[in-house]
Subunit: 224 residues, 2 copies
DNA sequence: CGGACGGTTCGGCGCGCACCGAACCATACC
DNA sequence: GGTATGGTTCGGTGCGCGCCGAACCGTCCG
C-alpha cells in the first residue's frame, strides 16, 4: 500500500483517533487507562496500540506490569494536529459535564507539549506585540525574543537543534494560531514547573494559578 | 465519528490516496483519466471522487460531459503532503519506465503549485544564500526578498492575504525542504509562463529549457 | 505460596466498504 | 435522427478489520 494510505489508515479509525487525541496532552498513558477512556476491551486496546506503535506514531515504555505509551515525538503530534484541524467545523459538545470540560479546555490546555486555548493564543499575541516574535511573513524569533527566552525562561537553543524554534499551531477552539516548537515547549515546561498553571483532572485542561496570573501579567502583560 | 478519523479515512484507501497524489500536480483531471490512472472501473472512480469532494479535499468543475476535479486548495495539498511525508522511508521504484520517470521527477517536478525536486531545493538554497529568505528560525522573506519578488517575478502580496508568503515543504526525494506558499506558487507560475520549464508527459515531471537554465543561473546563480 | 491485576494472544463474529458490471443518463458528433 | 463516449446509479459480492471473550502469561502483594 502507498505510504500515504498507510499512514492515514492509522488515524482512520474512531478508536485509534481517540487514543491519539488523548495522548496529545503529551503525557504517557497506560494501556488500561486508554481502554477505559475509549470504552473498549483491554484486548482490543492492546492490539490497536501495537498498530500505532508499528506505524511509528506512538512510542512505548514498559515498566513492571504496565505498558506506558505516548506520542513518538513532535512530528507525530504535528501530524495529528494537521489532520484534525482540516475539518471545516466540529459539533458542539453535549451534556453538562462535557461542556464544563470543554469550557475549561477552551480557557487553557496543553497541546502536546505547549500551551493552547485562549491562554495560548493570548501569550502568542503578546509575544508578537512585544516584538519577541516576528509574524509578518512566516514566524521568527527576534534577537530580543532570544534574549527573553534565555533570561526569563532560562532556555538556550542547543547547537544543531533540528526542531524549529517556533512553529504556528492552529488552535481548534480559537481558530487562530498559537506557538509550538521549542519556544512553545519551553514556555509550557516553565509554566508547569513554576506552578503558573496546574492540570485539572486527568485531561488536557489547565487552570491558571494566582502566581501564574501575576507572572503572565508581569512578563507579557497578559490578563488571564 | 471524530473529525480526525473522518478526515483520515478519506486518505486511508489506496485508490483515493493515488488519486490525491496524482492531483498533487496542481492540475484538474477528468474522472476518466483518474480511473485509468488508478486502474479501477469508471463507476468506482465516480464514487470515490464524490467522497473526496464531500470531504472537502477536492473541488469539481463540470464542463460539458466532463467532470474535472482538482485539489480544493493549498490546505488540502498541505494536508496530503504532511501525511505522505510522515512515513520514514519508501520503497524504490521497480522497472525501467518507472525508474526513468522517478529520475525525471527527482530532477524537477511540480508539487501542487510550486517547484520541487533537486531544482526546487537548489532554488530554495540559493534564495537563502542570497539573503532573499531568512531561514535561521522559522522562514521569512527579507525586505530584499520582497523587492526581488516584485522586480523579477512581478509578484506583490495582496493586502490581507491569508496564505503564508513562504512555507517549508519537505521534499520527498531530497529529504530537505523547498519553498511552498505564495512565493513558491509565484515562482512556479513564472517559470511555466516564461517557458523556463515545461511539463514532461502528463505527470508532475518537469524539464528545464535552455532559456530556463540561463534564467536560473542569472537570477539566482543556480546551475540546473 | 495463592490471589489479584495488567496486559497479551487467539478464534470467531459481523459490519463496513471498495469493487465490479449492467443499466441508464447526458453530451457531442455524424 | 442514430451512434459513440463520458459519467452516474444501483444491486450484489467478497475481503478486511474492529471488536469481543476466553485462555494465558507476568508482575506485584499479602
Amino acid at each position: 500500500m502507498s505510504p500515504l494510505a498507510e499512514t492515514a489508515s492509522l488515524l482512520a479509525d474512531r478508536t485509534r483517533a481517540a487514543i491519539c487525541q488523548a495522548l496529545l496532552d503529551g503525557r504517557a498513558w497506560t494501556a488500561g487507562e486508554l481502554a477505559r477512556h475509549t470504552g473498549i476491551a483491554p484486548s482490543t486496546a492492546s492490539e490497536q496500540l501495537s498498530r500505532l506503535i508499528d506505524g511509528g506514531l506512538l512510542a512505548e515504555e514498559r515498566q513492571g506490569r504496565h505498558r506506558y505509551v505516548r506520542l513518538a515525538g513532535p512530528q507525530a503530534a504535528a501530524l495529528i494536529e494537521a489532520v484534525a484541524s482540516f475539518a471545516p467545523d466540529t459539533a458542539r459538545p453535549r451534556g453538562l459535564r462535557a461542556s464544563a470540560r470543554a469550557g475549561a479546555e477552551a480557557r487553557a490546555r496543553t497541546c502536546y507539549d505547549h500551551l493552547a486555548g485562549r491562554l495560548g493564543v493570548a501569550l502568542a499575541d503578546a509575544m508578537v506585540g512585544r516584538g519577541l516574535v516576528a509574524a509578518d511573513a512566516g514566524l521568527a524569533v527576534t534577537p530580543a525574543g532570544r534574549d527573553w527566552l534565555a533570561e526569563e525562561l532560562g532556555y538556550r537553543r542547543p547547537a544543531g537543534a533540528r526542531r524549529p524554534l517556533v512553529r504556528a499551531c492552529l488552535d481548534w477552539t480559537e481558530r487562530r494560531p498559537h506557538f509550538a516548537g521549542a519556544l512553545g515547549a519551553a514556555l509550557c515546561a516553565a509554566a508547569l514547573e513554576r506552578r503558573w498553571v496546574r492540570r485539572l483532572g486527568s485531561g488536557r485542561a489547565l487552570a491558571v494559578t494566582p502566581e501564574g496570573a501575576g507572572a503572565f501579567r508581569e512578563l507579557l502583560g497578559v490578563e488571564s
